[in-house]
């Protein structure tokens, strides 16, 4: 068991790395960060934890993640082609559980998108369930709790 400082540094580095991949649209590398059973979830109801039994904005297993990335990369989606850059700020990383098999962490994230020349901002709490492996940490679950999840959002052609 590492000291908390070591683990926090490792998790913070991983979260920063993932954020950098997504802002720079390195989607194939992002896909490789996941375990096969991993779930990428953007809920509509922030009080809900039974995601399979609820309607979400996104609930992606490995197949859906691959298809989502293909849609963003293959040049067929008019919204994906015209999406501008995103810059996300990540901070307030805290380890909630530090098990040997799973590490659960939470952080604050603000994603800024330039969309048709206008700045759109998405503040969120992001919960990571990470699996320590021989190749480093892997994503077992990522839940993006948008502050305005139950409001009227703009359409999204990137990955939170």
């Amino acid at each position: 068991m590492k000291s908390n400082t070591q683990l926090l540094a490792q998790v913070t580095e991983f979260i920063g790395y993932e954020a950098d991949l997504l802002d720079h649209k390195a989607y194939q590398e992002w896909l490789s960060l996941w375990t096969d059973s991993g779930l990428y979830i953007v809920p509509t109801d922030l009080n809900e934890t039974d995601y399979l039994n609820t309607l979400n904005l996104a609930l992606d297993d490995a197949d859906m993640r691959r298809m989502r990335v293909a849609r963003l990369e293959n040049g067929e989606s008019v919204s994906a082609i015209s999406v501008g850059s995103t810059v996300r700020m990540v901070s307030r990383v805290r380890i909630l559980e530090a098990g040997d098999d799973l590490v659960i962490a939470r952080c604050a994230m603000t994603l800024n998108e330039l969309r048709h020349g206008k700045l759109v901002t998405y503040p969120a709490n992001v919960e990571y369930t990470l699996k320590p492996t021989a190749e480093g940490l892997k994503l077992e679950q990522k839940v993006v709790k948008l502050l305005h999840a139950d409001g009227f959002l703009r359409t999204v052609s990137f990955i939170f």
């Binding site: 953007v42 509509t44 109801d45 399979l52 039994n53 609820t54 309607l55 979400n56 904005l57 996104a58 609930l59 859906m64 298809m67 989502r68 293909a70 849609r71 293959n74 067929e76 989606s77 008019v78 919204s79 994906a80 015209s82 048709h116 139950d150 409001g151 009227f152 959002l153 703009r154 359409t155 999204v156 052609s157």
Partner: protein, 431 residues
């Protein structure tokens, strides 16, 4: 007086911008704020507007908030299970009495001075009532209620007490609502949740889109690419036997996949390979082979979009509800549906399919949103100009129900909606 004359003229001017003969509308209908204000009054305050589904207010005390145009309302179910649609405005100083999206309550209490209203809108109690002695009686100050009627669980309300009953207004659309409701797979249709998003464009752009099959293979190419081959073939419907039919009163139906019009027909067909996992999950829940076939066939929804003027569409597997916010902003809800009491595997599949295409993060909606935003932006080019809705106009036939019917990628439904719009905007003359 001069202001009244101006308002009257704007309604008529807007009506004149719909050229029914040639199948075209002036682009200014998307961007003129004065016309928008008149639409709220002449259209949204004078017709049946969809406010919700009965399953969203299942029990005595259940409520949800909604809008009719810009006006906030509450849909509630009282202790006798009667539905009410109430203006969300305290009769005292005007504050909203309910801000929650949905829930269960015994009363609606104004946060400002504590006036409390029952589920039927009646004013039940207020602090220090003696100061109103001789001023008014409580019975005179209920939350104002709207006329409310339902069909097949779909609840509509109107501010106009003089228009026809809901069922007369729905008319030829009722047959299609009946077919749409078969997708509970033998269980009553129930709301499972909803996606909400907005786009910077006029509400009529969304109204047109639900009956626009022409855009599907272009705008949704990336969605179709994400499907398995068999499903992708089903969505390749522009050369098929589908059609668009004008059902009157602004309503229309666009049948894209004719073999999925009646979900209770053809149940003796073998279950396609791509549904085998769902079928097995249903068998594992103890369902008979007949039930499995019925549920699997219902799981993917119907093969048609039914557009109900002015704000709701029964769109293959979900309700699409629009709300005009301003001339250049529209809010949309994609309401996911399932079966009330249906097996988990069925409702889970319905939710996962909804997440795949619908909502702000689906594989379909963002591309629609991009196209609509471009329509609003592009419509500002030039000082005058037309939006064409004349596709397939010269090849109309008469349907078995006696309605005008065109090819699946014709703009027959849009013309039907604009004809109703023109009629309602021209009613300014009679005011």
């Amino acid at each position: 007086m001069s202001q009244l004359i101006d308002m009257k003229n704007i309604g008529l001017q807007a009506a004149d911008m719909v050229d029914v003969e040639k199948g075209r509308v002036k682009k200014e209908l998307y961007s003129n704020p004065e016309i928008f204000e008149e639409e709220l009054d002449l259209v949204f305050n004078n017709t049946w507007v969809f406010v919700g589904h009965e399953s969203e207010v299942p029990e005595a005390g259940s409520f949800k908030t909604a809008y009719i145009g810009r006006q906030p309302v509450i849909l509630s179910r009282d202790r006798k299970m009667v539905l009410h649609v109430l203006q969300n405005r305290c009769r005292h100083r005007g504050a909203t009495v309910c801000e929650a999206r949905k829930g269960k309550t015994k009363a609606f209490t104004c946060p400002y001075h504590g006036w409390g209203y029952g589920l039927d809108g009646s004013l039940r109690a207020l602090p220090k009532p003696e100061e109103y002695d001789g001023v008014f009686d409580k019975s005179e100050m209920p939350l104002e209620s709207l006329r409310v009627e339902s069909y097949q669980g779909m609840v509509f309300a109107t501010f106009n007490n003089d228009i026809e009953p809901l069922e007369d207004f729905l008319g030829g659309a009722k047959k299609w609502i009946d077919l749409f409701m078969k997708q509970g797979g033998g269980y009553p249709v129930k709301v499972l949740g909803e996606h909400r998003f907005n786009f910077p464009g006029n509400w009529k752009i969304q109204l047109e889109n639900t009956t626009d099959a022409y855009h599907f293979p272009i705008v949704h190419k990336s969605f179709v690419s994400s499907l398995d081959e068999a499903t992708a073939d089903i969505f390749d419907f522009l050369d098929g036997e589908g059609f668009v039919e004008d059902l009157g009163n602004g309503h229309s139906v666009m049948v894209m996949i004719p073999q999925l019009v009646d979900l209770e027909a053809d149940l003796d067909q073998p279950i396609p390979e791509r549904f085998s996992a769902l079928a097995q999950a249903l068998r594992d829940e103890g369902k008979s082979e007949n039930e499995v076939k019925k549920l699997v066939r219902a799981a993917h929804g119907t093969g048609f979009n039914l557009n109900l003027f002015p704000n709701v569409s029964c769109s293959m597997a979900f309700f699409r509800v629009l709300r005009p916010v301003s001339v250049g902003e529209t809010e949309i809800q994609h309401v996911a549906l399932g079966g009330d009491g249906a097996p988990d595997a069925f409702n889970h599949k319905r939710m996962r399919l909804h997440e795949h295409f619908q909502g702000p993060m689906g594989f379909g909606t963002p591309d629609d949103g991009e196209a609509w935003e471009r329509v609003q932006k592009g419509s500002m080019a030039g000082t005058d100009g037309w939006i064409l809705v004349n596709r397939g106009m010269s090849k109309l036939r008469t349907s078995e129900d006696g309605n005008p019917q065109g090819a699946v990628c014709s703009e027959t439904g849009m013309r039907g909606a604009y004809q109703q719009y023109k009629k309602m905007m021209a009613a300014a003359e009679e005011k």
